[in-house]
């Protein structure tokens, strides 16, 4: 791994002051460190943000669950408050990586990285999340821009993610048997008035499947999306699954999610 300078920031202000065009924020480091070791990313400065107390913790209000950016996956999966308010979010966190990754990886890191197969971005889309940064609030629908790309500007730091509590929800994924990343993951959330069907792993970026959302908003039953023939032209093809298989998996996982709601 190439040399860099390690900094531990005391607060968000110090963290963003230290940021430059050749720096990265370090939370759990579950993607940042492997990327640097493989030479896929190089930085002059790594700014550790996990010692900023304000960035960790879980708050539940009547209508939303707010999770600090540096909160670890294990803290989300073990939280009684999250389990009670949004059980599907707790089980999503429990299904990320392996125990050692969950002991270290953070929700803010996952979202900032926006891996096309990551689990948390689908939760943000399905649960109409608001991403709180040190500068502004960003709606999830406007946050995820493309493969590994978000609306974050240089030096902008995610502080918390606020999820809207749905009436019902479920996250179902078909994991890669080795990495546990989603080959396809579908997060279905029924809110008052409409239904979100957030899909991860299928395309270059997480998205809300409008066709299934519409069908399920009309009739919240897996029969209303049964046999739906989704357009696979923009879906990923790799050694694990073809685009056509992914299109089929999206419907299968969505049906499973609706049935589990």
């Amino acid at each position: 791994m190439k040399d860099f300078n390690y900094h531990s920031a005391k607060d968000s202000k110090e963290a963003s002051k230290l940021a430059s065009s050749s720096s990265a924020f370090l939370a759990g480091g579950m993607t940042t460190i492997p990327s640097m070791k493989l030479g896929l990313a190089t930085y002059k400065d790594l700014i550790d943000i996990k010692n900023i107390k304000k960035l960790s913790g879980i708050k539940v209000s009547g209508r939303s669950v707010t999770i600090g950016a540096a909160t670890k996956h294990v803290e989300v999966s073990n939280s009684k408050d999250v389990k009670k308010a949004i059980p599907s979010l707790s089980s999503l966190a429990e299904g990320i990586g392996d125990p050692q990754v969950r002991n270290r990886g953070t929700i803010g890191g996952s979202i900032a990285n926006n891996d096309p197969s990551a689990d948390y971005p689908s939760a943000c889309i399905a649960l109409n999340a608001t991403i709180h940064t040190n500068e502004r609030k960003i709606e999830a629908a406007k946050f995820f821009k493309g493969m590994f790309e978000t609306a974050l500007k240089k030096g902008e730091l995610i502080e918390a993610i606020e999820f809207q509590i749905p009436e019902k929800s479920s996250y179902q994924k078909h994991p890669n048997p080795a990495s546990r990343y989603a080959i396809v993951g579908v997060y279905v959330a029924k809110h008052k008035g409409d239904v979100n069907v957030a899909v991860t792993g299928a395309k270059s970026c997480v998205y809300n499947d409008k066709e299934m959302s519409k069908a399920l908003s009309g009739n919240f039953s897996s029969s209303s999306i049964d046999g739906m023939d989704l357009d696979s032209s923009e879906m990923n093809t790799d050694m694990h699954a073809s685009a056509e298989f992914r299109a089929s998996l999206v419907v299968t996982q969505a049906k499973k999610a609706v049935d589990a709601c």
Binding site: L26, P99, Q100, N103
Partner: protein, 153 residues
């Protein structure tokens, strides 16, 4: 360069190390604690698992600077007065290893599991050891060893 202060296996250590030093490198090359193995070096195999402040982590995917001030336990820290830890005893008794390369990480992960779940089921043991890869045993005897250790810990 920065100063790394840790408590490793109950002993306070303080050493200068470059900022890009991984915890696994710090343990093996700076402290000569070579029981922690480097297998894949890409956070998949789990041979490098150690405990930091009571929780298991893959030491090839953490910076030494990143865990500064923590309490670290490695495989060398499990024995007491020359007597093996019950988990090590169980691995030995039930042949939970063949070549032994994955064993330090496997044992450290399993000890963390029993700290959090005193009587895990077979499925819970297998789920927990998802991040530890063994290419010899076929896992059956590892699971049996963890179950045996659960009755002794």
């Amino acid at each position: 360069m920065g100063k790394i202060s840790l408590e490793v296996n109950g002993r306070k250590v303080e050493k200068e190390a470059p900022d890009n030093t991984l915890l696994s490198t710090f343990l093996r090359e700076h402290l000569q604690l070579t029981g922690t193995h480097i297998g894949c070096d890409t956070s998949q195999c789990g041979a490098c698992v150690v405990h930091v402040d009571g929780n298991s982590l893959k030491s090839c995917t953490a910076l030494a600077a990143d865990v500064n001030g923590s309490k670290v336990t490695t495989i060398e820290g499990l024995e007491t007065n020359g007597k093996m830890h019950p988990m090590q005893e169980a691995f030995k008794k039930l042949h939970g290893l063949q070549c032994g390369f994955c064993t330090p990480g496997m044992v450290m992960s399993a000890v963390d599991l029993l700290q959090k779940n005193k009587k895990p089921s077979d499925t819970e043991i297998r789920d927990w050891l998802e991040g530890n890869i063994c290419r010899c045993t076929g896992y059956q005897n590892i699971v049996a060893a963890v179950k045996e250790a659960a009755t002794k810990m």
